[in-house]
Symmetry: C2
Subunit: 317 residues, 2 copies
């Protein structure tokens, strides 16, 4: 698939960091950055941006904060074709802690929000746009949002100045028919807005859903090296670049970073295809229960986890 | 997706055995069989059927041969709703070694062939049908068959008595557009014939492609527990059963077999998502080079493998 508008965003460090509290060593981050540049990746998301009084530096690594100094230590002045992005959670970064674009190597803020936070997300997106950055809104957990509420969210976004809006499969629970339905809905509600996609891989569909989004018209695509990311992980960058036919994309630098860093890391951290994540995805559940299970002594007890999820649902009914 | 004609075939033992020469212990095979029965799986493929003079029993386990005695030791008289199948490779089983259906618990033969063997495959299918079995033809490696030759194959099959024909993604190299094209072609050429699908997971698309085949009209679907199979493995049974909405299918027995047998086995055998298989899939290569690489000391050297594949192609050009 070649379409010149298509942009690829690598979020290896940002989403991968959810599995190790962003405790990556600087060599790894630097090599991932250089691999992105060499591979022709359009954006690299280097972490979350958070105010320093919100989280402890003892607990979290530098990519939870993305202080300008730390980012520059990796990317220098970033005189490359790969732009840099950070993700901002509502309430975790104070406006006064965001410097004007001209003082930063960061190019784009991605504002992650739930449906009930959309007004705050639009406000933050406008704020960073006014400071000179590109901005996206990434609406999380849409697989649990009622259609009427989603329509309201989309209406609010359509009235904003935000020009990039993300379809996010937070729970890794979407099939191709869900993608088709939502892509259609997003595009109808948001003419002139670029639609992005960020998928999770609980059902081994993150890459397939990314392809389906491309077919349906999405032009901004998230991926991570070896799929590292929360729980089951994400669409893998290596598969996505292989699929896209734009000659600027190169597979080899990504394979090199995987060989040197991601594959060794995968032997220590359990992201990927594990039954608790499958059960969560197929039941459209937040991954927190599966993550907790995978972090316990019982991580290989799949039937017990399945029974627990079923039971928690029956209590609700 | 609910469609009453849809049948699921588990080939955990048959395809999985390609990774360990069918050296499964009997307890594992018995538990997989019982899980298939409890999960409502329509067919279980218990192995390859081969004549005893073709392979050594010292090297290969019982599921390379599927002697009636060994099969019965696992399934008894198989008074269940799960039918049993075996796969036959052209030239590996002598007709005189195939007993009449009334003397066997096996219900179906699946004849695997390359395009240039189609006449032999049809002959064998007719032979086993005449002996009382159901029969399928599984045309392998179609991603490398020229369109004109494929048309000839389909014409031959259309003139035969064979009623089940498989689309097989042997190299795990197909995208949804390939599936759509081939499903359309197969169905047009073979009216009244059930189309099956067997996918490999090199590009993490085996499950997605299976769904696409269902949408396009395929009614016989292969899968294996935890995706065990040659190289990158297959569509996973647990994902497929979760997707299908037929109430007869149950996930829990499959999770149980995975917990007890497949997950422990996965710690010893490297099937699944590994870069050499990805490189092979994306380049539409037979998995033999990747399998050999994964079996060597260099299995974690991804860039070197990538370079080797590229080089072998340039020599060809």
């Amino acid at each position: 698939m070649f379409r010149k508008e298509l942009k690829v965003l690598d979020c290896t460090i940002r989403d991968g960091g959810l599995m190790n509290k962003w405790q990556f060593d600087k060599k790894l981050v630097k090599d991932v950055y250089q691999a992105c540049v060499a591979a022709g990746v359009d954006y690299m998301e280097i972490g979350y941006i958070s105010s320093e009084d919100q989280f402890s530096r003892d607990e979290f690594g530098p990519w939870k904060f993305c202080a300008e100094k730390d980012v520059r230590e990796v990317v220098g002045e970033n005189k490359t074709n790969t732009k840099l992005s950070v993700m901002a959670d509502i309430g975790r970064i104070k406006y006064e802690d965001i410097r004007p674009k001209k003082e930063s190597v960061i190019d784009m803020f991605r504002v992650a929000c739930y449906d009930y936070q959309i007004d705050k997300a639009i406000d933050m997106a406008h704020h960073v746009m006014d400071k000179g950055y590109e901005a996206t809104i990434n609406l999380m957990a849409v697989s649990t949002v009622a259609e009427r509420k989603l329509d309201e969210v989309l209406k609010d976004v359509s009235k904003s100045r935000v020009k990039i809006f993300y379809l996010v499969d937070s729970f890794g629970s979407m099939y191709s028919e869900d993608i088709q339905h939502l892509m259609n809905k997003y595009q109808k509600a948001l003419p002139g807005v670029t639609i992005g996609f960020h998928g999770h891989n609980n059902l081994q569909l993150a890459f397939a859903n990314t392809i389906e989004c491309i077919i349906q018209g999405a032009n901004m695509l998230d991926a991570t090296m070896l799929g590292i990311g929360r729980g089951a992980g994400n669409c893998t960058l290596e598969l996505l670049l292989s699929f896209l036919k734009n000659p600027k994309y190169k597979l080899r630098p990504v394979l090199s970073a995987i060989e040197t860093h991601l594959r060794p890391l995968q032997k220590q951290i359990d992201w990927g295809y594990f039954m608790p994540y499958v059960v969560g995805g197929t039941m459209n559940e937040h991954p927190r229960a599966a993550l907790k299970w995978m972090d316990s002594e019982r991580k290989d007890e799949y039937v017990a986890f399945f029974d627990q999820v079923l039971e928690s649902r029956q209590v609700l009914e």
